[in-house]
């Protein structure tokens, strides 16, 4: 053999071993990356044009989600509120220089964009946080009216200064709940109460609600893909 293979070839053995390790490492990295939350945009937290604080409004001031997202129980989209909604509290001075409504922070720089929008009629361009692929059709009303709380998908928004994505919103995530909805159900009047926790076993509570609302979540492809 030594005639054929010079001594240095012995080192090839080590090299081969190293190669194997690298290969293993590579596979590991791929798997890790695939599993990593950010792959599902968990923690995606864009800076909005107006620093609106859900923590303040929903959390401390206890505004109901539906005060702003008022179509959530009537439509597929939980509509982003029109500027008019903001103006209810944050209207600026009108032409005469008087503020028509009870105005909060009507001078605040942070709200400049809102006042501008109200004046010009041009929309405030918010940045979408929870963004599903175009081939997925999620309907808010279908879930909200079935006792699925906002918190199930959006997390404790009422504690977020700046909204971020907290759930994977992956297909597996959806199917988990569609296959076994009970733990995620709550009385309809508690749907927007993010802090609510059942005093008995969520499974039991859920089962009861499922019973009375007669819920049969589907796992057909066409339930979400059209």
């Amino acid at each position: 053999m030594s005639l054929i293979f010079p001594n240095w070839t012995n080192r090839l053995l080590a090299a081969a071993g190293a190669g194997a390790l690298i290969g293993a490492g590579y596979v590991g990295t791929i798997v890790f990356a695939a599993m990593h939350p950010t792959t599902h945009h968990i923690g995606y937290q864009p800076t909005q044009p107006v620093p609106f604080s859900h923590k303040l409004h929903a959390g401390q001031l206890k505004l109901d989600c539906r005060y702003c997202h008022n179509t959530v129980d009537r439509a597929a989209h939980a509509a982003i509120p029109p500027t008019a909604t903001c103006s209810n509290c944050h209207s600026g001075k009108n032409a005469k220089g008087v503020t028509p409504h009870v105005a909060v922070h009507s001078e605040s720089k942070k709200l400049a964009k809102v006042r501008e929008s109200a004046a010009t009629g041009d929309p405030v361009e918010w940045i979408k946080v929870h963004n599903l692929p175009d081939y997925v059709y999620f309907n808010h009303s279908a879930h909200v009216n079935s006792g699925v709380s906002c918190v199930s998908c959006h997390g404790r928004v009422d504690r977020m200064e700046k909204v971020q994505q907290v759930k994977t919103l992956s297909m597996a995530f959806c199917l988990d709940c569609h296959r076994n909805p009970e733990p995620h159900l709550r009385p309809l009047d508690k749907v927007t109460e993010l802090s609510w926790v059942p005093d008995e076993d969520p499974e039991v509570v859920g089962a009861k609600i499922r019973e009375e609302l007669n819920l049969h979540p589907k796992v057909n492809c066409s339930t979400c893909h059209r």
């Binding site: 864009p46 179509t71 129980d73 009537r74 439509a75 597929a76 989209h77 509509a79 982003i80 509120p81 029109p82 500027t83 008019a84 929008s117 109200a118 010009t120 009629g121 041009d122 929309p123 405030v124 361009e125 918010w126 940045i127 979408k128 963004n131 692929p133 175009d134 081939y135 059709y137 309907n139 009303s141 279908a142 009216n145 079935s146 049969h216 589907k218 057909n220 492809c221 066409s222 339930t223 893909h225 059209r226």
Partner: protein, 1032 residues
């Protein structure tokens, strides 16, 4: 393109090369006309509208959410809104219902509130016209041409120029000034016209459209001494006889007629009987119980004889008599026997005399006041003469300036009227037009016209009611409607709404009140404004139409008759740039993207022509070279050619010299003269040695003998039909047409507890009008593929209408048409072979197609016995230039847009099912018996399609499936189709009953039953029937 980009970067983009590209890509015409004098910034402002629009269509990782600053009342973002509006489409008034998504109209359907739509039915023109709204080739701002160059103008500049024009001519009472308009039923236009004529008494007013209904009115004048138009009441009609008349699918009130006709096609009730005589097979002809192909020029003679025969009384013809004789005798017999319960309808193409005879027969039979009412029509205007006057006056210098409101006279004029040079003669010419076309190029002023959905308008609906057109969206570009333009000329102030409201007030005082107006706008028309019936007395009159129509035709060159028909898809050419319509197959020929010289086999044989061969047609001194299309049932010795093709300046789809886009089809206006607008005789056809491949969606290539036998052998099983007697004897003959052993599934049968969606198509009601095809395209974002791809058999329509010919005599065939779409088989062959489970069954029996899972092995397509699966062989939106940002606004947001390499198909409009389910759930109620309505069903004027939950016995579809006529196509394969057909029943006149045996069925039904009983197969097929019913 991310929307962000388009919003923010207008100023950055202004001088960039990207922007130039963008202009050329999105708005080639406008970009080309880019004005010298104007600053880019000004240009930007003008383009603004379209650019912001462009934004709306964008989608990228970082998506913007742009809520309205103030949300309108009742607007729920992302939810459909419906608005009724009555407008003119393709020269006809329609009551429509528009679907709007976040202020963006995406679909048009019939307005069920008004009778003229049948029951909310529509047609291809209506469905397709929504695409025009977002046509990037639209003229986007006014331009003035000055020695060849065109300069951008603002509307203010235009207005001042126009009023100056009026002032200039008002000195001499408007002499020298002319308006060339398309005929319209709009009362406001009429009012403004009157106002203008009051102001300028000598104003010249001309009207032209290449197809018109004036002959009927002229005929009425002859028959009754006054212009009246008929309204048929087919619910009361037992015998319907049409003469060169496509009563059920084109012309005024067609949807209403289709509906009322179909209502009497249920063999359980009293069935009506339809006779049709025509030279070109129309959809009405296919629906007929008895059909006679006869040259248009001979129909007058036939009617005269018919009148005589009715007076004399018909006698049973000898058994060896020709089809024509038997048909004639039977028709005469039926009409006489059912006097007062029948109608005779004459088509718009027939000369006034023939209409007069028609009216006379109707009044003789006492139909007037019973099955048909007469209402006042406008004074008949011969449009050819009107256009001739225009040309004459222009050439003589009598006419100095003209404003052309819409239309395209340069293209549409008959050969003997030279509009081009006429316009050239004029000092000033302005064209208000939606798309820049052949005429626009010749005019000094090019003025953008608004889309029907872009402003207030009004119209007179079929029954005479006052229809209101409300705006669905602000004009996308700096455009104006004809009303707006006239108002400027007439010096009327006020916006469109006030202009229309004024008219409304005049039409009916009630409409002056806000409440009544609001109601009218909501409904799309004003109640109680329908025209009153009048019963004029018939005047005696002479006609010259006599002739021998029975004589067998000797096809001889020089004696050929050419029939000019407005295209079933692009109409008179106004839809030439509309991809959906270009690709909608002609109901009979199945041709897309072009026209042909359509002739019967005998004619072709005599002229030594073959399919696709080019032939030179010479008539009236004009000539045109067309490819031959051989179709059984075209009257022997006649050819028919469709108008509206061969456009040279329509746009990137329909053909545009400037952009080097070849015209689609052949322009045949050179064959027409003002004296032969509908049909011309004595034509000569000479064969050329070359051929041009036509794009047909069926019989893509000539079928050989083997194939023909194969087809003949199976039509009877695929499209099952029988005579009324047959039905009365064996109501369930259809299910028994095919015998097969007991069907057993390889897999354990699924039982469907909850919903079980299903569809039923009544072949007895379907008239094969194509409305459903275009509706499906609009609802489901079905792409177009273009002529070349259609020739490669790659069309994408989810729903197609198959048509076959039967009978022994190809000159007098019977036609079978059958809408085919995904059958949602319970044992779906496609599902078993998909390796990635991209098509699987839902527990409601839907054959789900998951686009995002599909990798495109196309195995499912192979294994689908109905071949309803469509594959994106290429990126078709790109290939067909439909991927521009403006065009994307027409897409239905409820349906995924499929990518290249993906299989797609009908899913029973699953988006509608889901949304209905969600709504019902939210309202804590069950889904209504027939609450879910598919797009095709919605569009169908004759209610041939029913859809719903088969587990709900009250649903129409469950009843239909239970009907004795119901059968599943190819159900012997045990695929268990969820769509079942109701067999067609032909209601034959006893004298023509023999026809029953020669429509291509294997063997007559009686033998079949015999064989069934004898060989015990009855049991087998009964088993299968039961299992079918049990499973649904």
């Amino acid at each position: 393109m991310s929307s962000k980009k388009w919003y923010r970067s207008l100023s950055e983009l202004e001088n960039s090369s990207e922007f130039d590209e963008f202009l050329h890509r999105e708005f080639p015409q406008a970009a080309e006309e880019f004005p010298e004098g104007v600053s880019r910034r000004r240009w930007m402002q003008l383009m603004g509208a379209s650019l912001t629009l462009a934004g709306a269509a964008g989608c990228y990782k970082e998506e913007k959410l742009t809520p309205l600053a103030a949300r309108p009342v009742n607007r729920i973002p992302g939810e459909h809104q419906y608005f009724n509006t009555s407008v003119e489409v393709a020269g006809q008034p329609y009551a429509l219902r528009a679907t709007s998504n976040d202020g963006r109209p995406t679909k048009l359907d019939g307005n069920a509130l008004h009778s003229s739509s049948g029951n909310g039915g529509s047609n291809s023109y209506i469905q397709g016209s929504i695409l025009d709204l977002y046509d990037p080739d639209r003229l986007q701002s006014p331009f003035e041409k000055d020695n060849g160059e065109s300069f951008l103008r603002s509307w203010d500049e235009v207005d001042s120029a126009m009023s100056a024009l009026v002032k200039q001519f008002s000195a001499d009472g408007g002499a020298g000034l002319g308006i060339l308009s398309e005929p319209t039923t709009s009362p406001t236009v009429a009012r403004l016209k009157a106002a203008l004529q009051k102001k300028l008494p000598k104003l010249g007013w001309f009207e032209y459209r290449s197809t018109s209904n004036s002959n009927q009115l002229a005929g009425a004048v002859k028959a009754f001494g006054q212009p009246v138009r008929p309204l048929f009441d087919l619910t009361k009609t037992k015998i319907v006889a049409t003469f060169d008349c496509d009563l059920l699918s084109s012309g005024l009130n067609a949807q209403h007629y289709a509906k009322t006709f179909a209502d009497r096609r249920d063999p359980k009730g009293e069935m009506n009987r339809l006779y049709s005589v025509e030279s070109e097979f129309t959809t009405t002809g296919t629906a007929a119980d008895h059909h006679l192909s006869l040259a248009s020029s001979k129909i007058g003679a036939l009617l005269l004889d018919l009148e005589a025969a009715i007076d004399a009384g018909a006698t049973k013809p000898a058994d060896d008599a020709s089809h024509a004789e038997k048909f004639f005798a039977a028709l005469a017999d039926d009409l006489k026997a059912n006097a007062g319960d029948c109608v005779v309808a004459v088509g718009p193409g027939q000369p006034a005399d023939v209409h007069a005879i028609g009216f006379r027969i109707n009044s003789k039979l006492g139909n007037i006041g019973k099955t048909m009412t007469l209402v006042r029509g406008d004074k008949p205007v011969d449009h050819a003469d009107s256009l001739k006057d225009f040309a004459k006056q222009a050439k003589s210098g009598e006419l100095k300036a003209v404003v052309i409101l819409g239309g395209n006279p340069v293209y549409g004029a008959p050969a003997d009227i030279d509009v081009t040079s006429a316009i050239k003669k004029l000092e000033v010419s302005a064209h208000l037009t939606f798309l820049p076309n052949e005429t626009t190029g010749k005019c000094d002023w090019m003025l953008p016209m608004s889309h029907i959905l872009e402003g207030w308008s009004d119209t007179t609906l079929a029954d005479g009611s006052y229809g209101i057109g409300q705006p669905l969206i602000n004009p996308l570009f700096e455009s104006r409607s004809a009303i707006g333009m006239l108002a400027v000329l007439a010096g009327e102030s006020g916006d469109l709404q006030s202009l229309v409201r004024t008219t409304a007030g005049n039409v009916s005082g009630k409409l002056r009140t806000e409440a009544a107006w609001q109601k009218a706008v909501h409904n799309g028309f004003a109640d109680g404004t329908a025209a009153a019936a009048i019963e004029p007395t018939t005047a005696a009159f002479e006609v010259d139409a006599a002739g021998d129509w029975k004589a067998p035709v000797e096809v001889s060159n020089g004696q050929i008759e050419v029939l000019f028909t407005s295209s079933s898809t692009v109409f008179d050419g106004q839809f030439a740039n509309n991809g959906w319509l270009q690709e909608t197959p002609h109901p009979l020929t199945k041709l897309t993207w072009g026209n042909a010289a359509v002739m019967s086999p005998a004619t072709a044989k005599a002229l030594e022509l073959v399919d696709h061969q080019l032939t030179k047609v010479e008539v009236n001194g004009g000539r045109a070279v067309l490819p031959v299309y051989i179709q059984p049932g075209q009257a022997t010795g006649t050819i028919s050619v469709a108008l509206g093709y061969g456009r040279t300046q329509s746009g990137i789809v329909g053909g545009d010299e400037k952009q080097g886009v070849d015209p689609v089809g052949v322009d045949v206006s050179s064959l027409r003269t003002s004296s032969s607008m509908a049909f011309a005789t004595n034509a000569t056809l000479s064969p050329l040695q070359s051929e041009e491949k036509l794009a047909s969606t069926q019989d893509h290539f000539a079928i050989d003998k083997t194939g023909m036998e194969g087809i003949h052998d199976r039509i009877g099983d695929l499209i099952r039909e029988g005579s009324l007697d047959e039905y009365n004897k064996h109501p369930d003959f259809a299910e028994h047409r095919v015998h097969h052993p007991p069907l057993e599934s390889l897999w354990t049968e699924v039982s469907y507890e909850g919903h079980a969606w299903g569809m039923a198509i009544d072949l007895n009601k379907c008239i094969g009008c194509n409305g459903c095809v275009t509706a499906c395209q609009s609802e489901n974002n079905v792409p177009i593929v273009g002529k070349d791809q259609v020739q490669r058999n790659r069309e994408m329509h989810w729903l197609r209408v198959d048509r076959y010919f039967g009978g022994d005599d190809p000159e007098q065939p019977e036609v079978f048409s059958q809408p085919v779409t995904c059958m949602q088989c319970e044992n779906a062959p496609c599902e078993q072979v998909c390796p990635v489970a991209a098509t699987v069954h839902s527990d409601e029996g839907l054959n789900d197609m998951v686009y995002n899972r599909c990798i495109g092995t196309r195995y499912c397509g192979n294994n689908c016995p109905y071949k309803v699966r469509r594959f994106n062989f290429l990126n078709y939106r790109k290939e067909t230039k439909q991927d521009n940002l403006l065009q994307q606004l027409v897409l239905n947001p409820e349906v995924t847009v499929r990518s290249r390499g993906v299989m797609e198909k009908c899913t029973y409009c699953v988006q509608r099912i889901q949304n209905t389910k969600i709504t019902a759930k939210a309202e804590r109620r069950a889904i209504g018996d027939n609450e879910v309505v598919t797009a095709c069903q919605e569009a169908c004027p004759s209610d041939a399609i029913s859809f719903g939950d088969l587990n709900n016995p009250n649903s129409d579809v469950a009843k239909a499936h239970a009907d004795s006529r119901s059968y599943g196509m190819l159900s012997e394969l045990n695929v268990k189709p969820r769509t079942r057909y109701l067999a067609r029943i032909r209601n034959h006149h006893p004298w023509l009953a023999k026809a029953d045996h020669d429509h291509g069925h294997g063997h007559s039904h009686d033998e079949e039953l015999g064989s069934l009983e004898s060989n015990g197969a009855t049991v087998a097929s009964h088993d299968s029937t039961n299992s079918q019913e049990a499973s649904v």
